[in-house]
């Protein structure tokens, strides 16, 4: 029991936080694409979303919720740094990307560019 506890402490203090790739859903709806990421334990202040040319990188830091005095009997998750990159296609309107964080789930809405919406080309008779 104590062995595991010291193990956890060593992991949190000595080494940088372990990098975790968060579980991610990517789906498409009428109004664009939606990205959902499970990042439990990350507060809004500790979350960063960077967009480079055609890659969106989400980084978040989940801290240790327990106090110092507690001894652990069972550890199945711990503090970590979530990091995940999603490639963006040219169809995404970069100016209007919206992100929200609720109950540990990050939702990113990637709207489609106006001009990329499907349209029909009329055929004129010569």
């Amino acid at each position: 029991m104590t062995e595991r506890n010291t193990d956890l402490e060593a992991r949190t203090e000595a080494k940088p936080l372990p990098r975790v790739s968060p579980a991610t859903d990517i789906l498409e709806r009428e109004d664009g694409f939606y990205v959902y990421m499970d990042i439990p334990g990350v507060r809004r202040e500790d979350l960063k979303i960077d967009i480079n040319e055609n890659e969106m990188v989400v980084t978040g830091r989940a801290g240790q919720a327990a106090s110092e005095k507690e001894t652990f009997l069972e550890v199945q998750f711990g503090p970590g740094e979530y990091i995940r990159a999603v490639s963006l296609s040219d169809l995404v309107d970069r100016e209007h990307i919206k992100a929200s964080l609720k109950d540990g789930v990050l939702t990113i809405h990637l709207p489609r560019l106006e001009k990329a919406s499907p349209r029909r080309i009329p055929v004129q008779s010569a």
Binding site: K69, L73, G104
Partner: protein, 137 residues
Amino acid sequence: MVLDFNTLYAFPGRFDRLFEEFFKPQLADGRRLAYPPLNVSEDDASYYVRSELPGLPLEALELTLTDKSLILKGERPTEQGKYFRQERPAGFFQRVVALNVPVDRDGVKATLADGVLTVVLPKCEECKPRKISIDVA
């Protein structure tokens, strides 16, 4: 291609991922098999059960405290739409935490913050170890 997941696309990133997969700590020690993951800890006053439950409001969770166990039940919903990638688990889940120790049943509290559930089970006053003074006859 709409969202590019081509394996040849972000080549340097692919190497990083390859290494990460080798050193993944959670999968290596065989945990993460049961859902949701639980942390159990104690201090002088209470036992703490913590769990990662992203995307669930407290109303969607069902916590039952029986004589010998704490039962955690709920359902994770799926989003509507055309999926390109689905990694987040969905559906019903249940976990049972066996309590082999007496707890103060009326003082149990549960909170949910940023997708992390914390259940505080106070140790009962009567069950704390006590010193018994021995009177010399």
